[in-house]
């Protein structure tokens, strides 16, 4: 198990390097530059000399391979560079924002798991029942609803009309501020979890070993506890992992909507003014997050399913 764990964690490093290269190349070829966007006010074009001067200062005049080499060398020292705009270390900027994002993602996931998994389970226990139909209709609605629209709706009802909750802002980490964005972000994974849990449980219920369990004289509740739950968990863990990983990316819209000071809004702002080091750093952190979640999922798999460790 230890060996398996170490191997899986080491596999993250090459992936991260490839991603770093990709991000670097993409942002070197996209049109627009920090200098141009800084000096241009939309009517007059910027003075080319000033742009050249700034590029020199920022090291953007060096050839691309050399810039990449510098970038990777810095990365090796855990230095993500310096923001063009604020001249602060990127790592510090990200550090300031990351925890709010994590808080939001975790809260949304907890909301999704606590409600979605039991709903899917109950629906699978009574397929074709009213509860099943209602759950599945709700799940499809939840999946097809645009998140920003749902966010606006919640804001309107609970903040503006009822006045129960603040409509936006971080509120110094107050739980009340967290509720609306977390629900908005959590609805999609909730719906997905309800569906996959239902499908997973139904799948297991039809397995031969469930018939064996019944033939042993087990009560329905023991069959579920001893033989269904653990087997259905595999699919649930996959879904939670995938959703959790992509959540930080999805959170960009929600963070903008609720003025949540997370890494997503940092990314959007930085792209707009071509603050490349911050953009690169942010994406790298998001990718790293995704990879770590994936690794965690693999490890959990191995813990649940003895067949995986052997490979």
């Amino acid at each position: 198990m230890l060996q398996f764990t170490i191997r899986r964690i080491l596999q993250v490093i090459p992936t991260l390097l490839v991603v770093a290269l990709l991000i670097f190349v993409i942002f070197s070829v996209v049109p627009g530059s920090f200098a141009a966007s800084l000096f241009s006010d939309g009517r007059t074009t910027a003075n080319p000399e000033m742009i050249a001067q700034l590029n020199r200062e920022l090291g953007l005049d060096l050839p691309l391979p050399q810039r990449f080499l510098n970038y990777v060398m810095d990365l090796a020292h855990l230095d993500l560079g310096t923001s063009f705009r604020t001249r602060q270390p990127v790592l510090q900027l990200i550090n300031d924002r990351m925890w709010a994002s994590l808080q939001l993602a975790v809260a949304a996931m907890v909301f999704a798991v606590v409600i979605g998994v039991p709903l899917g389970f109950i629906a699978a226990m009574r397929p074709g029942s009213i509860l099943d139909s209602v759950t599945m209709i709700g799940a499809v609605s939840g999946l097809s609803m645009p998140q920003f629209w749902l966010g606006l709706l919640l804001m309107y009802v609970f903040a503006l009309q009822l006045g129960w909750l603040p409509s936006f802002g971080y509120g110094n980490g107050s739980l009340r501020n967290l509720i609306l964005p977390a629900i908005t972000l959590g609805v999609t994974p909730l719906a997905l979890l309800a569906r996959t849990t239902r499908a997973g449980v139904l799948d297991v219920m039809n397995a031969d070993f469930i018939r064996t369990a019944h033939a042993k004289g087990m009560s329905e509740s023991k069959v579920v506890r001893w033989h269904v739950a653990r087997n259905a968990l595999v699919l649930v863990v996959t879904t939670v992992g995938l959703q959790f990983g992509s959540m930080i990316g999805q959170a960009v819209v929600i963070e903008k909507l609720f003025a949540w000071p997370g890494i997503g809004s940092l990314l959007v702002d930085s792209v707009a003014i071509r603050d490349i080091p911050v953009v690169q750093g942010t994406i790298l952190v998001i990718v790293l997050w995704f990879l770590l979640i994936n690794t965690a999922v693999d490890l959990i798999y191995a813990a649940i399913d003895p067949r995986i460790k052997q490979r």
Partner: protein, 303 residues
Amino acid sequence: MTEPLLDVRNLDLVLSHRSGDLPILQDISFQIMPGETYGLVGESGSGKSVTSLAIMGLLKKPLKVSGGQVVFQGQDLLKLRPRRMRDLRGDRVAMIFQEPMTALNPLSTVGRQIAEMYVLHQGKSWREARRLAVHALDSVKVPNPERRVGNYPHQMSGGLRQRVMIAMALACDPDLLIADEPTTALDVTVQAEVLRLIKELCAARGTAVLFISHDLGVIASICQRVGVMYAGCLVEENDTVALFSNPRHAYTRGLMGALPRLGSRLTHGRQRLVDIDSVIADRSVLTETRFIMPRGAANGESA
């Protein structure tokens, strides 16, 4: 005259559907004496497995029993409360299934799956149950039972897994063991070992066996009496020796004719294997005629 252990009386079973019930089993009656090994033989789809599931009370919708009785040790199982039936299942009537690969939970050790029996039916603690599971593995001749008890099903061969199933089924010393094609998924040498094991264990414990197979050879080697099923009906029943030496029903003769015999010469036309028409007779026709007209080669003409 001893009382039969299991007395299936006029069992009817249907597949219920909006447009009416489709008969699956019709008027099945047979008895199994304590300690006897009774074989049910027939081709795929003839209703052997469904009969066993009906006895176990494990039928799933839309299958349902529409008439008859399944009397086990003097009580009609079909009228038992689900709770009582559950206590009986596994404890007094146990079952082995065809597919040892999928009949065990892949995420649970075999020891735990055997131990469940002792916890369920004998109120043992998990610790004690696990100790008993080692004994159970030993009794079905699994080598290294102390180590094997912690194995997962995927770490075992098909034959070993079927031994685990047998250990599980016999854990609580049932009075009746239903074996639904227990050796079909195994290769021939392993098949012989598993058969011998079932035979020995059940003889030693006085367990009656309902042995289901489409393999006449297997049936002949293990059963005292045989029932032949065809299209949901029990068409013939006799002592094994009598049945094989003098098959009365046309379908039984058809089955025998389809058996390859060691030393028979297939090249010389005369001793060709005879086949039975591959399709099971249409049930709607069957309900009217009740007993089948001989199909294919069995009617004795040049088919």
